[in-house]
Structure formats: C-alpha cells, structure tokens
C-alpha cells in the first residue's frame, strides 16, 4: 500500500513536470528560450516513479529528453529555466542549454543528446562508486533508440561483469525522432531477454502506471543494493508532442491515429487524478489548489530566469586553449 501522503506527492511531482513543460511550450514562441527542447509531456510517470525516494547521493543520468528526469530528481527549476534562457544563473551557466542539464546538489549528474552516450558515463559512475566502496545507486534513463547503440551493450556487459549498482531504465516511446521502432528493430527482438542474456535481471512495467512503477522500482532498488547487481527496467510510454519543439505534430501522420488515441486515454496524470479523486484522497478543490501552487512558483521562476544576466565574454576566456 502507498500512503496517502505519497500518493499526493506522486501526483504533485508529475504535475510539476507537466506544468513546467507546458509553460515552456507556451512561452517558447517568445524567442527568449533559444535552444532545442525535447519536452517530456506524456512521459511524467516514468521519471517520477523511478526517481521517487532516491537520495541526493544517488546519481541520475539522462539523454536529450531530460527535463522530467531532472525535475523528478529534485533539480532546481530556476536553474533549468535560466539555462533555457541562456543565462549565467543556468545550471550550466548558459553553456549547455536544454540538452546539458545538471544539478550536482541533487545528484542529477548530467545529460547529453548523442543517443546512448550517457550510458557508459553512468556505468563508469557506478564503477567509481564500487571502487570508492559507496552504496549509492546510479540510474540511467535511455530511450528505445539508445538500445540500438553499441555502448548500450558494452555498458550492460560491463555492469554485469563488475556487479555494479546501476539501474538501466529504458523508456520506450516507440519513436526515434520520426523513425518507428518496427523499422529499426526486429519484431522478434526482446530487450528484457537481451539484458538477461548478459546476466542482468529485468522487468517490464507499463510506463504510464505511476503506482506500479513506484512500487516495483522500490523493490528493484533494494534488490540492486542487496545483491550488488545491475538491473534493467523497460517502460513503455508515449510523448504527446513533437520530438523537438513545443508543438503537436500529429498532422505529419507519422504516428497512427489509433495509437495516439490509445495513449491519450492512458495519460498518466489524468488517470491518476481520477484515481485519487475516486479514492477520496483528493477533490477538485484540492487539485486546483495544488496546480495553482505549482503554477505560481513557475511564474516566479520564469520571471527570475528572464531577469538574470547573460554570461559575458569572461567565461569564454576561461576555456580558450589555442
């Protein structure tokens, strides 16, 4: 059973991601956030469920679509928005943009947009933990496309060999940009079995079922720590808007309308709200209040980001080496 408090918290975390992403999308046209963005709308449950309850010393790595993971790990919203605005107060001082988030205080260690490339870096972090005799976890979020990369296999292989405390989380949203999974992978391919064949235990969970993800990953984290073994988790989910940018792109018809409708019905947030209202843990008034609270914080954070200074030439001089 999940306590009422945690149920509300799970919803709140997902809402925080959704509302942040929606406000970014809404304000993107203003041309103040001038960097490519890969929004996580629709994929809030995977990030929230997996990251819930992690300690700051546990480390999370991600890829191009990293906002949800960053927020779920407790990353500062002000630093995130500042980074998108290219400001000195950004988490990477404006040098990285949306695709290079980090919050070291919260254990969000990094994200890179080259598909699969953060997997070995996360694996190396788990190796460092082992060499330093630390009991912390490392979580690496990767997409279905990343499982086609060589480093995916190289990293699983090594994590298995060295018995590293790392959780590989594959969020399968069925598309690598516009390329559907059935054009990229054989129908006979079985990711969980691939992990198993490398000596790594695995589980598949519906990626939009927040409670199940939370409960099962809680056990998985315990398993990893107790046995000092890596684990592979596969979560099917769906992004609601375009691969890169703030808009809906369903008019391009690269995704089947029935598939879209199927996943719309499975919205992790709408369904969980309904569930909590049905359980009488939440009512509409409380929900509105919750959203309002998040909304107001966001307004303040955007204002903060907009008011900050741009970095000056001085910072570049620190990096010139020729």
């Amino acid at each position: 059973m999940i306590s009422k408090k945690i149920q509300i918290k799970l919803l709140e975390e997902m809402l925080k991601i959704r509302l942040t992403e929606e406000m970014i999308a809404k304000k993107y046209y203003e041309q103040k956030m001038r960097c490519p963005i890969h929004l996580s709308i629709g994929q809030e449950a995977t990030a929230t469920g997996v990251c819930f309850g992690l300690k700051d010393s546990d480390k999370v790595f991600s890829a191009h679509r990293s906002h949800a993971h960053y927020i779920a790990k407790g990353g500062s919203i002000k630093s995130l928005l500042s980074e998108l605005h290219g400001k000195i107060s950004g988490c990477a001082k404006g040098l990285g943009g949306s695709m290079h988030l980090l919050d070291l205080n919260k254990g969000f260690s990094g994200a890179v947009p080259i598909v699969g490339s953060s997997i070995p870096i996360a694996t190396g972090t788990a190796w460092a933990n082992k060499l330093k005799k630390l009991n912390d976890l490392v979580i690496i979020f990767l997409g279905d496309g990343a499982t086609e990369e060589g480093v995916f296999f190289e990293s699983l292989d090594f994590a298995s060999l060295k018995k590293l405390k790392i959780l590989f989380v594959c969020e399968n949203n069925f598309f690598s940009v516009y390329s559907p999974i059935d054009k990229r992978q054989s129908k006979k391919r079985n990711l969980c079995k691939i992990a198993n064949s490398l000596g790594i235990k695995s589980t598949f969970i519906d990626g939009n079922d927040i409670e199940n993800i939370y409960l099962k990953t809680k056990q998985i984290k315990k398993y990893i720590k107790k046995n000092s073994e890596p684990f592979f988790l596969l979560l099917n989910t769906f992004r609601y808007i375009e691969h890169c940018g703030p808009n809906n792109d369903d008019h391009l018809k690269y995704r089947n309308i029935n598939t879209i409708k199927f996943w719309e019905k499975k919205c992790p947030i709408v369904n969980y709200q309904k569930k909590l209202i049905k359980r009488k843990i939440l009512d509409h008034k409380k929900l509105t209040k919750l959203k309002k609270k998040i909304f107001n914080t966001l307004i303040k954070s955007f204002k903060y980001a907009e008011e900050q200074n741009f970095p000056t030439k001085k910072i570049l001089n620190e990096f010139i080496d020729a």
């Binding site: 980090l102 890179v112 070995p120 460092a128 480093v151 990096f319 020729a322």
Partner: protein, 352 residues
C-alpha cells in the same frame, strides 16, 4: 649529479608507478595493461603492486572511454592505454563529444582529469592500420591537452605534469621512441605543458618536429652540420596548447623553417604551424617555409614501399638544401640506411 641513461619505456613505467603510489585515485586501464608483456613494458607487473587499480578491459573502446569519464567526474584519475592509435577511433564519440566538453558543458563545475595514452606504430610491416599517428584529429578539439614527448626526459616530465592537470590529456607515444635511451631525470621531474623545447640551437635553419619526427630532425641536423649548416631543432612537446612563440622566435632568427610532421602533412600539424608562421611573420623579408610529411597514401606494409612513404632525415636535408640555395656535395652518401624506415634499431626484430 650523475645523469642516468634509461629507456623511454622504462621511464614511462617508473612514472606511472610513481603516480600510482603518490595518488590513490589513479587507476590504469586498457586492453592488456596487466598482461605478460605489459604494453611494451610500460605497465609491466604494476597490477601486482596495485591490486584493484590496474584493470584489463573488455574490447569495448567507446564504452570503456565513457566508463573512464564516469570515474573521472567522480574524483578518480583514469589512465587509458590503446596499443595503437587506431583502436581509439572507436572511442572518438566519447572523446570529442563528452571528454573534451564535459567541463565546459557543466559550466566549469565538473572537471574530468584523465590521461589517454595513444601509441603510434611505424615500420616492420605495420601497414595501413597500425602506423597512423592522427595527432591532428585530436589536436583539433578544444578542451584537451595533446602532448608528444620525444625523449625519456620529456616523457617523465609531461606524464608528471598531466597527473597534476584538471583537464583531460592525450599523450602520444611513438612505438619507436619506446626503444630509445636518454637522460632520465628524477622521479618528480615536471615539464610545463604548452612549452616547446629547443633541443639544439642553431642559426641557419629551424627544424620543427614532435614525437618521432624530432629524431628525424636531430639526425638531419647532424648531416647538415657536415655541410656547415647550423640547424636549430625545436621539439614541440605539446600540440595543444601550442607554443607558437618559441617557433616564431627561431623563425625570425633563421628565416628558414622546415616543419616535419609525424604523419601526413596535408591538413597536418605542419599545416597549422606553417599558417601561423606565415600569418604572424608576413612582413619578414626572405622568410622561407617548407613542410614535410608521409606520402599521401595509406601506409603500405611491405618495406620496399614503406621506405618511400615515411619521412626520413635525408628528405629533410634535401629540403634544407633547396631552401638555402645550396648544392651539397656527395649528399647521396647520406641516403638513409636500409633499416631506417623499417626498424627503430638494428636489434628490433618485430612483431609490433
């Protein structure tokens, strides 16, 4: 103080040993670092002395370069070794996108010090994929040091300095240099990164080399001396950062400069240096620049063709003769020795 003569490869091993001992965060990794041959002797038996800090690895170059970065951003100091430069190309993504940029991408918050040792092959049939140097590929990327020690002294000093760096450092080791001997400074000797060294001063012509091409420059300077030409030999030591000032100073003095590449000169290190010398000394009257490199083909394995492809001291002397408008008498007798393109010395009997 008595100077100690030691083998280049032995100096590397001593220096790695010294830094492993001094800094518990240092780990050595790479295919075969703990094998019975110990990377041409440079890591031999270190795994016995530093258990759990010297790691053989799976053949997964891009993966393990990422693992090393993971170690580095978590406070360790990894040293990766590739027995030939060519294997590291599998790790080029991690190197260019991640390692060279991690400090920058984190707004300077996270440093990722590490050493990547890349070994260049030459001669004895190494052929197209075991004889490339490719320094230019690595030197092009901001965010890393690229070093090319050419003597036991500089290999000691540059390794020690790299272990003090916050930046990742690439160290090119030429396989033939492993077999050379020279003065070996004390264990805690440092060489400043980003400084070239004048190995021999002269007044008529400047010869610029790095890594093994320095040996060629020194050899050709000896021949030139027989024709009463005084050559200044500059060892770059560091390709990035590049000490252009030492080169400019010498070029101003001699007004004749030959830059000798270790690989192809087309788009090579010599191209960058020639361009900078030309740009910065364009008002200098009678300045002459030439550059030499390997033939612009993949390197053939057979010695009958390989000797036509590698730059050798004779080529440098011929270039100098032309540049200085001289006619050297009986130059042909200095034509390279038969073994030159094929063996580091007469005792070398392969295989790699």
């Amino acid at each position: 103080m008595l100077k100690k003569i030691k083998k280049y490869s032995e100096v590397i091993k001593e220096t790695l040993d010294y830094n492993l001992k001094k800094n518990k965060k240092v780990v050595l990794m790479g295919l075969g670092v703990d094998d019975p041959k110990g990377i041409f002797g440079t890591t031999l038996n270190l795994h016995k002395k530093y258990k759990n800090r010297v790691f053989d690895l799976p053949t997964a170059e891009n993966g393990f370069t990422g693992f090393a970065l993971g170690l580095s951003i978590n406070g360790m100091f990894p040293v990766i070794t590739h027995q030939r430069v060519e294997f590291s190309l599998l790790a080029f993504e991690q190197f260019v996108n991640q390692i060279a940029k991690w400090n920058f991408m984190t707004g300077g918050k996270v440093s990722n010090p590490m050493i990547i040792r890349l070994i260049i092959g030459r001669g004895w049939g190494q052929g197209p994929q075991h004889s490339q140097s490719l320094e230019i590929l690595f030197s092009h990327i901001p965010g890393v040091n690229v070093l090319t020690p050419s003597t036991p002294q500089s290999v000691r000093g540059l390794f020690n300095s790299s272990f003090k760096e916050k930046k990742p450092t690439i160290i090119f080791e030429h396989r033939w240099l492993h077999e050379t001997y020279g003065n070996s400074p004390k264990l805690n000797y440092f060489t400043k990164i980003g400084k070239a060294k004048i190995l021999k001063s002269g007044s008529d012509i400047t010869l610029v080399g790095f890594s093994y091409s320095v040996i060629n420059c020194l050899e050709s300077a000896k021949i030139l001396k027989k024709f009463n030409i005084s050559a200044e030999v500059i060892d770059l030591q560091s390709l990035r950062p590049l000490d252009i000032n030492t080169i400019l100073k010498s070029a101003k003095k001699t007004k004749n400069i030959i830059i000798v590449d270790n690989g192809w000169s087309f788009y090579g290190i010599s191209a960058e240096i020639s361009a900078q010398v030309a740009e910065k000394l364009c008002n200098l009257k009678n300045l002459k620049i030439d550059r030499l490199g390997n033939k612009n083909t993949p390197m053939p394995s057979t010695k009958s063709l390989a000797k036509l492809c590698y730059v050798n001291p004779y080529d440098i002397v011929v270039s100098a003769e032309k540049m200085l408008n001289k006619k050297f008498k009986n130059l042909k007798k200095f034509k390279l020795k038969e073994y030159y393109a094929d063996q580091p010395n007469k005792n070398f009997l392969g295989p790699f």
